[in-house]
C-alpha cells in the first residue's frame, strides 16, 4: 500500500559506446505522488530523457539499466516481462516522447490513428473506440471535425493535442511528457500547458513534465527536480526552489532567464557540462561552481533532506555544515 504512484530508487541507466560506458543517469531516486505535476529540469545531456525512458523500461540498446528499482503502484517494473509491460503501458502509464507530434501517420485520418492506438491495447468494439476518440478530441480542445482530417491539415499545436488525446485515451494514472511544447510558439505553448493542467485535474492523473525551460516549470509544476550530469542536484516544491534555490546550479539556472519588466543583469556560468564518460571527481558541478570548496573536489555530495520535502545534493547544505 504505497501512497506514491511511481517510486524510483537509485536508478542507473548507462549507454555502451565504443569508447566506454556513458553514465547518463547515475543513481537517481524520486517519487511521483498522485495528482501532481512533477517537473524535471536540466540542460541537454543531463540525463532527463534517459531517466524517463529508463523509468518506463523503454530504453533501447546501446542504453541499458545498470541497476535500480522502479515501483509503479507497488508493482516492480524491473520484474515485468514484455507482456506485463504492455498491459501497463498506455492503460496505466503513457509516454509522450520528444517531437512525437511529427510521428503521426501522414496517410491516415486523425480519428483512425487514435482508434488504432486504443484497439492495440483494449479489446473494444470499433464503434466504442470511435466514440471515445470523438470525446478525446474535444477534451483536448480540438474541433470535432479534426477526426476526419489528415496530419498535414493541422498546425503543430493541433498535432501535439492529437498526441495528448491519444496518450490519455485509456485514462492513465501517469503521463510522462518529454519537451511537449518545445518547438511551439508561445501562444500555442500556453494552450497546451493549459490542456495538460486541465487533464491532471479532470482525470486525476499525475504528469511528469520534462523540459529545459525553467519558466514553463514555474508556470505549472507542483514539484521540481533539477538534474545535473546524470544526478539530482535539487528536488522540492517549485515555489521553494524558485524562492530560494539552494544548489548553486539551480541558482544559476534561475538567474540566467531574462524576465520581462525586471531590470536585472542575467548571469551565466563559464565552462561546459562535464563528459559523462569520465565525470569529474567529487561533486560533478565543482569545476563550474562559484562556491567551490576543498571538500567538493574530493567527496561527492549526497542528496540530503534539508527541510520538509526539500532535497539538495551540495556540501554547502546539510547536517555537516549547519
Amino acid at each position: 500500500m504505497s501512497e506514491q504512484l511511481l517510486e524510483i530508487k537509485d536508478l542507473k541507466a548507462y549507454y555502451r559506446t565504443p569508447v566506454g560506458v556513458v553514465k547518463a543517469v547515475d543513481g537517481v531516486s524520486l517519487a511521483v505522488e498522485r495528482e501532481e505535476i512533477f517537473g524535471i529540469a536540466g540542460e541537454s545531456g543531463c540525463g532527463k530523457s534517459t531517466l524517463a525512458k529508463a523509468a518506463l523500461r523503454l530504453l533501447k540498446p546501446p542504453g541499458y539499466i545498470h541497476e535500480g528499482n522502479i515501483l509503479f503502484e507497488g508493482t516492480d517494473l524491473m520484474r515485468l516481462d514484455r507482456e506485463g509491460l504492455r498491459k501497463i503501458r498506455w492503460r496505466k502509464i503513457s509516454y509522450i516522447p520528444q517531437s512525437s507530434m511529427n510521428s503521426l501517420n501522414p496517410v491516415m485520418r486523425i480519428g483512425d490513428q487514435i482508434v488504432d492506438a486504443i484497439l492495440a491495447h483494449e479489446n473494444w468494439p470499433r464503434d466504442k473506440a470511435e466514440e471515445r476518440a470523438r470525446k478525446l478530441v474535444k477534451l483536448v480542445g480540438l474541433p470535432e471535425r479534426c477526426i476526419k482530417m489528415y496530419p498535414h491539415e493541422l498546425s503543430g499545436g493541433m498535432k501535439q493535442r492529437v498526441i495528448i488525446a491519444s496518450s490519455i485515451a485509456l485514462n492513465p494514472r501517469l503521463i510522462v511528457a518529454d519537451e511537449p511544447t518545445t518547438a511551439l510558439d508561445v501562444v500555442v505553448q500556453r494552450g497546451i500547458l493549459q490542456t495538460l493542467y486541465e487533464i491532471k485535474n479532470s482525470l486525476g492523473a499525475s504528469i511528469v513534465l520534462i523540459t529545459h525551460d525553467m519558466a514553463v516549470h514555474a508556470e505549472i509544476d507542483d514539484r521540481l527536480m533539477v538534474m545535473y550530469a546524470g544526478k539530482v542536484a535539487e528536488l522540492g516544491s517549485v515555489y521553494d526552489i524558485f524562492e530560494d534555490p539552494l544548489h548553486p546550479y539551480s541558482d544559476i539556472l534561475m538567474s540566467a532567464i531574462p524576465a520581462i519588466g525586471e531590470k536585472k543583469e542575467i548571469k551565466g556560468i563559464s565552462g561546459r557540462p562535464p563528459s559523462l564518460l569520465n565525470p569529474p571527481k567529487g561533486c560533478r558541478f565543482h569545476p563550474r561552481c562559484p562556491h567551490v570548496m576543498e571538500i567538493c573536489r574530493r567527496e561527492e555530495p549526497l542528496l540530503k533532506e534539508v527541510g520538509p520535502g526539500r532535497f539538495v545534493a551540495c556540501h554547502l547544505h546539510g547536517s555537516d555544515s549547519r
Binding site: E43, S44, G141, L142, P143, S155, G157, M158, R161, D185, V186, V187, V188, Q189, R190, G191, L193, Q194, H212, D213, M214, A215, V216, A218, E219, I220, D221, V238, Y239, F242, Y249, I252, L253, M254, S255, A256, I257, P258, A259, I260, G261, E265, I266, K267, G268, I269, S270, R272, P273
Partner: protein, 326 residues
C-alpha cells in the same frame, strides 16, 4: 526623426514565394510592405520578433542579400543594397556580418575552428603578417570571452554549443562591421551558457560601436537586449518602437496575447485566466484587411477590408490597428 542617414533603411519590402500550381500561380506572402530603419548616429540593437512564419528570418535573409525581394528596397547608409552587392559587394560583405542559429553549420568538421577565423582575414586582407593575424584573432576571441588556448587547434566537435557560437561571433567581428545580423543566435544554446552570449552582444555594441539586428521568437530575450523592437505577424509589422515600451505596454491585440502567453519564471505570478484562441491556421488568401482580423477580440467591419496604417501612439511607439484610430 534623425538628421543623420540611417544605417539601414528598409522601405516597403515585400517577398512572395511561389507555391507551385502549373496554370494558376499561387504565392505565399512571407513579408509584406515592411518598412523600418536602424538609426545611424549611435549603435543600437533592433529586434525582429515574431512567431514561426512571421517573416522575421526572411527579412534578415533579404537584408543579407541571400534572397532578393519581390518589391521594395533596402538602403545601407543611403545606398541601395542590391546595387552594392552587384558592384561593390566586398564593402557590404565586410561591413554587414551575420551569425546564425546553429553555430556548427558554420564550421567544416574536417578543419580546426581557427580556419573559420583565418579565412576572413585573408579574404578581406585584414592582416599584413602572421603575428598581426595572431593578434587580431586573440583580440576578437577575447572580446567574446574565449581564450586562444581554448579554441585554437580544436575541432568543432570539441567545443560546446556556447563556445562554438562565440567563435562565430568572433569571426563576424574581424572586419569590424557596422551591422551584425544575428538570427536566433542563442536558441540552440543551453540556458546556463545563453546568458553569457547575450551579455557579450550587449558588450560588443558599446565596445565595437556596432549595431545589431537581432532576430528572435523569445520576447524575454528581446526585452533584455534590445533598444528597438519590430513585432511581426504573418509578414506584416503590427507594432514597433522602443522595446521596453512595446513589451511592457503592448497596444495591438495580437501583441497583447503574445506577451500574456510568455511563461514567467516565477511560480507566484502564474497565469490566472485561461485563454482561448482559434487554433486553426489562417487562410493564406485572407490578406485584404487586418492580418489578425479572424482571431481578434476587437475586430470590426472595417478590419476585414482595410489594412490598418501605422500610427505613432506615443513617442517611438507605433501600432497598426483600427481600434486606436476609430
Amino acid at each position: 526623426m534623425n538628421e543623420a542617414t540611417p544605417l539601414l533603411e528598409v522601405k516597403n519590402l515585400t517577398k512572395k514565394f511561389p507555391l507551385g500550381g502549373l496554370l494558376r500561380k499561387r504565392y505565399l506572402t512571407a513579408v509584406e510592405n515592411v518598412s523600418f530603419q536602424i538609426v545611424g548616429d549611435k549603435p543600437n540593437i533592433t529586434t525582429l520578433a515574431g512567431e514561426s512564419g512571421s517573416g522575421k528570418t526572411t527579412i534578415s535573409r533579404l537584408i543579407l542579400g541571400l534572397i532578393s525581394p519581390t518589391s521594395g528596397e533596402i538602403l545601407y547608409k543611403g545606398r541601395n543594397v542590391l546595387e552594392m552587392l552587384k558592384h561593390d559587394s566586398l564593402t557590404y560583405r565586410k561591413e554587414v556580418q551575420a551569425v546564425f542559429q546553429n553555430p556548427f553549420e558554420s564550421f567544416n568538421p574536417f578543419y580546426t575552428v581557427d580556419r573559420l577565423l583565418r579565412v576572413p582575414i585573408k579574404k578581406f586582407k585584414l592582416a599584413n603578417s602572421k603575428s598581426d593575424e595572431q593578434r587580431l584573432i586573440e583580440e576578437v576571441l577575447d572580446a567574446v570571452g574565449l581564450t586562444s588556448e581554448r579554441v585554437i587547434g580544436k575541432y568543432p566537435h570539441q567545443l560546446s554549443g556556447g563556445e562554438a557560437q562565440r567563435v562565430t561571433i568572433a569571426r563576424a567581428l574581424l572586419p569590424r562591421p557596422s551591422l551584425l545580423v544575428a538570427d536566433e543566435p542563442v536558441s540552440m544554446v543551453d540556458m546556463s551558457l545563453r546568458a553569457g552570449i547575450l551579455n557579450v552582444l550587449l558588450d560588443l555594441k558599446k565596445k565595437y560601436n556596432m549595431s545589431i539586428l537581432f532576430v528572435t521568437h523569445d520576447l524575454s530575450v528581446a526585452y533584455y537586449l534590445s533598444d528597438n523592437i519590430i513585432m511581426l505577424n504573418r509578414g506584416r509589422i503590427v507594432e514597433k518602437g522602443d522595446a521596453k515600451r512595446v513589451i511592457t505596454n503592448p497596444i495591438h491585440p495580437y501583441v497583447k496575447t503574445l506577451i500574456k502567453s510568455i511563461p514567467m519564471p516565477n511560480p507566484k505570478r502564474r497565469w490566472r485566466e485561461t485563454i482561448s484562441l482559434d487554433n486553426l491556421e489562417e487562410k493564406e488568401e485572407a490578406r485584404q484587411g487586418c492580418i489578425f482580423f479572424e482571431r481578434c477580440p476587437l475586430s470590426m467591419e472595417r478590419c476585414r477590408k482595410e489594412i490598418p496604417e501605422m500610427v505613432e501612439v506615443e513617442q517611438n511607439h507605433w501600432v497598426a490597428c483600427h481600434s486606436i484610430t476609430k
